[in-house]
């Protein structure tokens, strides 16, 4: 149990939740040049970037809205009793500075930023950004951990070869690239919630060819979250695992603020539950992506997003607390 009060979030009893400069979960802001960085166990990071979107844009505004919504997160997980901020040191590491008009430059900036974070021993928990941001993050993660496993919640596989006549980097291609670049071990990758209309089966054929396990939404609804997550945990086993959570995994009635929604997804209870059921996974990094504030300026989607991030954080904290003894 760690309890440096510097890393405790501001309580809603001391400062009402609507007050104050909004950092992630009201945690201290610790920049990459801050000496405190090496004391951080879990770093919450924003990647305000959406150059990979092929349909509706907006996730560049995601981190700010997620920070805003996150001030409603309190100290304890009501369901599990976990109090992560007292177990490990958490901090808001700020945002990666993207270049909105240069896709490749932005990817380089993201990898550079995460490399520093990971080398400092910090587990990154990312608030996206569109799903392409997972690729430069995985480049940094894999430098440390080699090809990693992945549990991926989404309505899309993001495994396409290319778009628009040969464009290799969009939010529909990051995991194709990640497999090709050997950042992911496809045998330890599971994708949950896939649905909607599709161009063709090129993505799923690729998945089959490399051993990625796809659990479509039909199967998810038939088996239920517990059973599906048991299989997911088995697929990744004890391997270092990245968790990538696209908010469009959730049905658009619960998460309208996203660019490419698909009808017929899980409800909010299931959305939380699958994150809670990551317990036991060896998480080396995680992201929550594709929250697009212009399509939900009520903040409801963002609040769902940070609630999911908190569930993931609780699992990371539990894992580290156990590891640290």
């Amino acid at each position: 149990m760690k309890s440096d009060p510097f890393f405790h979030p501001v309580s809603g009893f001391d400062l009402p939740r609507f007050a104050g400069v909004p950092t992630f979960m009201r945690l201290p802001h610790v920049g990459l040049d801050d000496a405190r960085l090496t004391q951080v166990d879990v770093g919450l990071i924003g990647t305000p970037w959406d150059s990979g979107t092929t349909n509706r844009p907006g996730p560049r505004h995601g981190p700010r809205q997620l920070r805003d919504a996150s001030t409603m997160i309190r100290a304890e997980n009501g369901a599990t009793g976990v109090r992560p901020f007292e177990m490990v040191h958490c901090a808001d590491l700020g945002d990666v500075p993207p270049n909105p008009a240069d896709l490749q430059d932005s990817m380089t900036r993201i990898t550079d930023f995460y490399r520093r974070v990971i080398r400092a021993g910090v587990i990154p928990l990312t608030a996206g950004g569109d799903h392409l941001c997972s690729l430069p993050i995985l480049r940094a993660v894999a430098e440390e951990d080699g090809p990693v496993g992945m549990i991926h919640f989404d309505s899309h596989t993001d495994l396409f070869h290319s778009y628009f006549g040969g464009t290799m980097y969009t939010h529909g291609t990051p995991f194709r690239r990640a497999v090709e670049e050997e950042l992911l071990d496809p045998k330890k990758v599971v994708q949950i919630g896939i649905r909607g209309t599709t161009y063709d089966r090129e993505d799923r054929d690729f998945a089959d060819s490399v051993g990625i396990r796809i659990i479509p939404i039909e199967e998810f609804h038939a088996r239920g979250p517990e059973d599906v997550m048991a299989e997911a945990r088995e697929i990744v086993g004890a391997a270092p695992t990245y968790v990538s959570y696209d908010i469009d995994f959730v049905d658009p009635a619960f998460a309208p603020g996203t660019g490419t929604p698909e009808i017929g997804g899980p409800n909010s209870w299931q959305a939380l539950l699958v994150a809670r059921l990551l317990k036991g996974v060896n998480i080396v990094g995680a992201d929550l992506v594709e929250v697009s504030p212009p399509f939900d300026n009520s903040g409801g989607t963002a609040y769902l997003g940070v609630s999911i991030m908190f569930e993931i954080l609780c699992n990371v904290a539990g894992m580290l607390a156990e590891r640290h003894g």
Copy 2:
């Protein structure tokens, strides 16, 4: 398998989905005077009309918003693998020109339009419009097929005798009229999802008296979509059947953009599933009605609506492909 490329929708890889003049599902626009009309198997038609609404208006704007949302529909049904646009010729036949200030004139215009469509051998798939539009469509359908069966998804029966002291034509009366005019065979009519507060039992007494089967929402939730749809398919059997889908069948959290929502309906997964479970029904026409854009200008309701239309279309395409051998 038919594959005249003229009838293929524009791919999102060639032209991003947000681009271009929006036709239904990015299909070619084929007007009634176009020589191509006779090559069309399934015609998507808008009925931008809401003079039958007794509460909140707006469905006159439905077809445009549904067209807009429909540009997100891709080539293949992810769940079933059906690729309808390669199986049959689909086209956007445009909108019926209504007369917003003359209810009877509008009904005549609708029947005239659909008569031409049906005589050209085209199966009409309609985007409403309020639910009264089903009546003039059924008049055209029944000219060809005689009294037809109907599978009707709705929270209301739309079987009332009259409103406001004797007004016979509103969106609460179309199927009462359709039974009286012998457009529907009531023994082959099933209404699914009925709920909410009611004036009295006059509509349900009529249903009972003519043999219409009503499956209220309590029964739907208790039995589940598969069981309910098995009964529905049995009721209509092999008879020519019209499918009428009022978007207020779905719970208003998933479909807020409608004029007379009722609490406690199916979720979006169930909303899709019941349409998918129409497989095997002899569909001679279908509509998706009561999408009211002023009450959901996010377009979420419309996207749900066109996703349902696509499921229906896949079933119609499968039926025709099988029939055509």
Copy 3:
């Protein structure tokens, strides 16, 4: 069966639902000084007050939006066939005049108002207001009935000792005060749907210490509404019971218009069903609180709210009709 037409709501066939001065459920407005008051069985009352909110304000606007939405409520409960307005005399008793800038003065005004209502033999059905309004109402209720039981639907316990360094009266403390003031019999109190992140366990420890039964959302989802409500009815037994329904019990996708939403709640069907399953409870008063129009100006949350109020009203009417023979 009572049928003084004075107490019948205006029919949507006589005056469309969007027309007319909006009273609750289109009932007659009967002020506290009106001679008709003693003829009223169930009084619908607004408490437009939100000085107890600690996060997002707005419930002061709740009664008006609930009245507006309530004009869509028709004469008969479609599921149960109950026609409450023909069984008992219902009326809109208007709003308590709060003092928005003086919390204690407002509480006094509320208790005074309800004392008059209850002494006139009227069962109050309240449209809040934030949850603190339940406290001054319970003060009036307990004057008549002594410590009462309570079935409480909420995502929060509202059992905290104090906020902001000693502030005793907020919407997070009313039932702590009510137990301390012996307005509630804690052994006959059940709280259903509790979830979300929490400050600490101080509220739940208090509940345990006095015998309040908490059914967290995990248990609710596992057991289902019928089983949970059977237990709830057993807890309160035949005792005079207050029903307090915080709209944030329901998942925010269905009820976004509230100040402190929590992810993962019941859907709208379950939200209605639990109210319907209050049948048999000896209800001496009920409230529906925390509808905050500024956070849902579509009115969808309010329509859910009044639909719940109608279910409660049907049970109260059934109870009184049976009692009156």
Copy 4:
């Protein structure tokens, strides 16, 4: 000076403005069968009807939103010092019950309602409703006063012969009909603010042929409100005059909640000022029409609308107070 406290609006000091059942300007509700009717000098009436709209619907919801917004109107006109509610008896007479599905029936109902009002000696101040409602109102007005003059604020002339191939009754034709039916004396009619694109000059040619004076927006901006209104007052002189104020007279940035907005109109200050400058006109009735809540559910357009209604009311009150001595 009349001061029966029955007719005084509820003060915001006694009951906050957001509280209470919303009547127009918090005035007492006096139905047509109420004995108090004959004591009323000015009656505020809603015409919740929009069957005449040819573009976006919604004004059927206008009266309710206008009532809601009107609870912010206080006792005194800050600019002129007029306190109308102490000068004459004002009341909310409720809404005309329209038939949303039968245009002619609705017109008959409106004329019948206003005939009763006018025969009771009440000057009607109407909250629309689309602009077609002015026609049945004028039918009742002209029964009493013969052909009347009219000062008409609008971006459209509403003088077209017919729509959609011969439809005579839409919100684009009421004043053509009113001239033909000799309800208006065209020589005493002035239309102010006309602008936007047009089909053709058929309406303006008619105006020229019968002597209606049109002041297009170019002229309005060039001359200013004072000069234009001086001419308007001169045109109607001492004749009994109807005031018809279409909210789309005002620029859509100030009044977005309407169905057929036109760019480049007056600002809100000018919108109030022209109503204030009606002082001295012999007003026999007035309306504020085309507020369409679905297109502005913030209520801002409605608040502008009732602020204009209050300015008109102040002038009517001043006129009557002077007349009554």
Copy 5:
């Protein structure tokens, strides 16, 4: 006067404005491969692209929303009496297909598209898209006409050298590039409405150094539209001139749907008037850019935008009609 009815827009009397597949101003859709292309005088084109935005994205959705709003444009300019569609042949040429994930590829695609349009003798009237789209359009325009003059309405100069440490192509740099590439003759360029906070004076120093005339908003408000536009017309004289109209020229109360609004701009009347006062300018192309639908899904900004486009179109039509004699 040309009057091939093929090029006439659909009348709102034949088909209500809310009905039908929405093309720009209800004109026929003529693709670049269509034989009719050479008959077109003015082509309305969408550039659904926003990769140049440095702040809020969204203009990729502009063309569709502008098409939707444009169906409210009627045949005749009410202020000037111009009926452009009867004077010249206008058509909707569709959208340029952008590559949302490749900025340079998109610029090439745009130039290629416009080259074909211009070589066919069509004057392009563009609906953006962010302001960077003006650069590839000007590349095509200047191929034909050499360095052109420009009248530019905007709150920003868009003359910066680079962003984000050397990025040369953003919506803040197009006209810097256009001067460098000799697409514009800076001595014949005037920028009107410049305002807001700024990074530094680098852009304005550049303007001074090459002879671009900047009229800041202070000067605009002091002199008024007529005087400013007289100067603008004098600056460009008879030279071939491009008109570039950024919707953020207009105050954000009138045009909220844009990415980088600046406070204190012209009102809607002035916004129309400056476009009308382009009369006499030798327009070789024009654009209306930066309408961002996600930030105004009411469509109000788009309606303002198409109203401005119509004013420009009327001037182009007048110019061509005069030229063609």
Copy 6:
């Protein structure tokens, strides 16, 4: 000229404006316990509190939305060329922690906070909060400077004696209290923009009795901003002066996000201009209050608000730079 880079805001060229933890104008966050506090010249402070609102609540959320919008403010005032952040040290001092459920406690907390700020030699520039927050701020200001002058922009005088039967502290009474407590010198107080309906003349009679100058909106529109502000500057002369700017001074089309809007106010250009014309005033503190995000979640009102704050800040910076030589 001061130029400690610590106090420079983050440039949009280094980090896009949508990125990063949002502090006011992207300035460093300097808490009251921070040693840097004494180096600060101007402190931007949030007072997230709205317990004084008598109508629509929400200003408690103002500071956060104002911070968010303020990240669009760049380094230089485009109109005046002032670069305040290079002239004086500016910082975000965070928010006062209010007690939302205890009005008097909150006022004490605010005064305590500002006392520390002012004693540190910092000029406070406040982002409200409702208008009652000006009272506890003035208590701290007057401790240092004695009774001060005030230039007050508003549509209401906020000079009422009491509300709701004797409640002395609401957002309608702060300046009545401030005069009574001798925090303000009424002879040096001017109120600009007063308009709307009123309860009575009690506030204006008080103003007259103590010598407060009220410039109603009629006079403002007639004389124009320059003339009015010349008088205002003359009234306060060289005296220490507080500037209080209620956003409802501005017309609601430009500033809809506020609780008690009044029709017919200044436009956004005038709103900026009056702040710019404070040049030369001896400003000892300023606030911008009554921004209520729930009533404008587009952020447009907040962007107007921070643009006004920036104009005030430029004047304060100019004054201090001149003073410091």
